[in-house]
């Protein structure tokens, strides 16, 4: 071994013994400049990684800190929900689809139920529609708060995370009071709602409406003006309108590119055209604009909730047709949601026909006329479309969900290739994909 010939560790003899001088050397000279250019590093990120926004795997080709190729690998959360619905009744389908995009369960339910109702040719009563808007907008705020919280966490602003989840907790408490569950509610059913608003919930929502604007202002004070936050977000994950439309990207990302495309405005459903609200946009096409759009949408949702509360009129929350309406009058007890005692008394003690009817509707379900519909609604992440096919039987023939997270995630490569690796995190956080919805 001839250490003396090592160009980077020359040595000389001294009275203390041999002394090595280790130098870095000039790699450009040693290897030639062109070889430096081919120094490619493939980094696997995820699927279990705190900054990939869920069970998402990224395969990144790096040259230094520059990303030359970003590939997205999904499917780690695939649970076959679409296939499962084909073996359940139409009503049971609600409990499956609500688990897809777990941060916006009420949107999944609403989209599915609107599709089933369109197939049936029915419309939910006015009160049910208003409450749907009410709970969906509550859910939109909760979903945006998680988007902002995880955004903060992934950018290193941990207080943003704790604040976001604290505010979301208030909404989850409200949804728990209204639906009986914090998530996966199965509250919106074909034909209406599982049950009416419980007593006192309207006051609690009003209380929330009093607190929340201050909390939004806190969020702005904490993050919006902060130079580090701005430096991390501005110009990160750039995607303009052309790129968005070509890649099918909708929701806050498209609106942050300047196109005010919100299905609540352009294709109104559930009477959204009668509400007074704005569609916030930005023209920066980057993560910063998406952050601002989401913050502004929280305020718009607060306005919508207030209006929905004002127009709540007493009335039924399920269609009159007993051939479709869930037979039990569900009520929320101390141990969760269940059949009302009165209804159990009626079918068990008074009317055998009611019992038969209950049994048939619960076990067999109702039939839905054959055909197919596509119903899009505006979820917190963009166009949530339900393509539902019926063959005239008591079960869906096919339920396909056009999940906005699935489509938007395709933009990862367009947003992050050519940028720095740190901006990949900003880009994905600004897409706000929910892997439960992506993989279904």
């Amino acid at each position: 071994m001839s250490t003396t010939s090592d160009p980077y560790a020359g040595s000389r003899e001294t009275t203390e013994g041999r002394v090595y001088t280790v130098t870095g050397g000039d790699w450009d000279v040693t290897l030639g400049a062109d070889q430096h250019g081919e120094e490619r590093l493939v980094v696997n990120m995820g699927p279990q990684h705190p900054s990939t926004h869920g069970v998402l795997r990224l395969v990144l080709d790096l040259e230094g800190e520059t990303v030359t190729k970003a590939r997205v690998v999904i499917g780690y959360l695939h649970t076959g929900i679409e296939k499962n619905t084909e073996y359940r009744t139409w009503v049971q389908g609600t409990t499956f689809v609500t688990r897809m995009d777990y941060l916006s369960p009420l949107f999944n339910e609403a989209g599915y139920c609107l599709a089933v109702e369109k197939l049936l040719g029915i419309e939910a009563p006015q009160r049910a529609q208003t409450i749907r808007v009410l709970v969906m907008e509550l859910n939109r705020i909760a979903s945006h708060l998680v988007a902002l919280a995880t955004f903060g966490m992934e950018m290193g602003a941990l207080t943003g995370m704790t604040n976001g989840f604290r505010e979301r907790e208030m909404i989850l408490d409200l949804l728990e009071e209204i639906t009986g569950l914090r998530m996966n509610h199965a509250y919106i059913r074909p034909g209406g709602l599982a049950q009416d608003l419980p007593e006192g919930s309207v006051e609690h929502i009003r209380e929330f409406l009093r607190i929340m604007p201050g909390r939004v202002a806190d969020f702005h004070r904490l993050l919006t003006g902060q130079p580090i936050w701005q430096a991390r977000l501005k110009d990160a994950g750039y995607l303009d309108v052309t790129g968005c439309v070509a890649l099918g990207v909708t929701g806050p990302i498209l609106r942050a590119a300047g196109l005010p495309w919100d299905l609540r405005k352009v294709e109104p459903y559930l009477g959204y055209d009668t509400y007074d609200f704005e569609v916030p946009t930005a023209d920066t096409c980057d993560a910063w604009g998406r952050y601002l759009v989401r913050m502004a949408e929280v305020n718009e949702s607060l306005k919508l909730i207030e209006q929905a509360l004002e127009r709540l009129e007493p009335g039924p929350v399920m269609v009159e047709d007993k051939k479709i309406a869930w037979p039990a009058q569900l009520s929320l007890g101390a141990d969760g949601m269940g059949n009302s005692l009165e209804h159990v008394k009626h079918i068990m003690g008074q009317s055998m026909e009611a019992l038969i009817h209950h049994f048939k509707l619960v076990t067999e379900g109702f039939r839905v006329p054959a055909g197919q519909v596509y119903v899009p609604i505006e979820s917190p992440r963009g166009e949530l479309g339900y393509h539902v096919v019926s063959d005239g039987s008591t079960r869906p023939w096919r339920v396909h969900v056009r999940d906005p997270s699935f489509v938007n995630l395709q933009a990862t490569a367009a947003m992050s290739e050519g940028g720095m690796i740190a901006d990949v995190i900003a880009a994905i956080a600004s897409i706000d994909p929910v892997m439960g919805g992506v993989d279904r």
């Binding site: 999904i74 499917g75 695939h78 076959g80 679409e82 296939k83 073996y87 369109k118 197939l119 049936l120 040719g121 439309v245 070509a246 890649l247 099918g248 990207v249 909708t250 196109l259 495309w261 352009v266 294709e267 051939k323 479709i324 038969i356 048939k360 509707l361 076990t363 067999e364 379900g365 109702f366 039939r367 006329p369 054959a370 055909g371 197919q372 519909v373 596509y374 899009p376 166009e383 479309g385 393509h387 096919v389 019926s390 063959d391 005239g392 039987s393 008591t394 079960r395 023939w397 096919r398 396909h400 056009r402 699935f406 489509v407 995630l409 395709q410 993989d439 279904r440």
Partner: protein, 245 residues
Amino acid sequence: MTGPGDRSGEDAVVGAHAPSGGFRKGAFGVTGSGDTSGFGGLVRVEPGGAVALHSTDRPYGGYFDEVTDALIEAVGQATYDAAVQRVLVDRGEITYFVGREHLLTLVQALRDDEALRFELCSSVSGVDYLDSGGPAVTPGRPRLHVVYHLTSMTYRRRIRLEVAVTAEDPHVPSVAGIYPTADWHERETFDMFGIVFDGHPALTRILMPDDWDGHPQRKDYPLGGVPVEYHDATIPPPDTRRSYR
């Protein structure tokens, strides 16, 4: 890995009723649903398909006529007649049933023509119509349908294109070159239905593992039962359970 075909604990008698191409039976051997809800009494399902087999006559109503006229003008009457097999207007939605050889011509015109401007491809998905609606299924019937939902942001319109292919020859040209967003949609449809999109840049599985056998959302994909260790009991696969249909 537990792949398809693993039906451990399958009851031979139950298996005889499995929907292996024939008409599915409901509980206790009855066909049809024995519907008592009354709602289904008004419905007549075309034999062999949940998808209605008739064509809607002009005028279609709403913006559908404008879209159709613009489409005819864009591609020419001859191409339109050759490409569009029939048109169905149902529940306020229009469906063009398109032959696969003309799909790309139509889609290109739908996206680019100034009077059409369907800029956004909302969704591409598959539907397997095997056995739907009744036993009168002719072998070789194009059971696999690819459904395209196109949105015009300029005119705020939506249309649906549908391409039907057989399971033996499940090839459809890829629209990913026209709508880049169709990339993952087509991968998912390939993954779930085994429909091959010719010309797709990288048609690989997306949700299922790469080495998976079969295409899970096909109606004849065998479903696995769940073995339970309790008094030799098993939970049969969902499609062989006692059920109303």
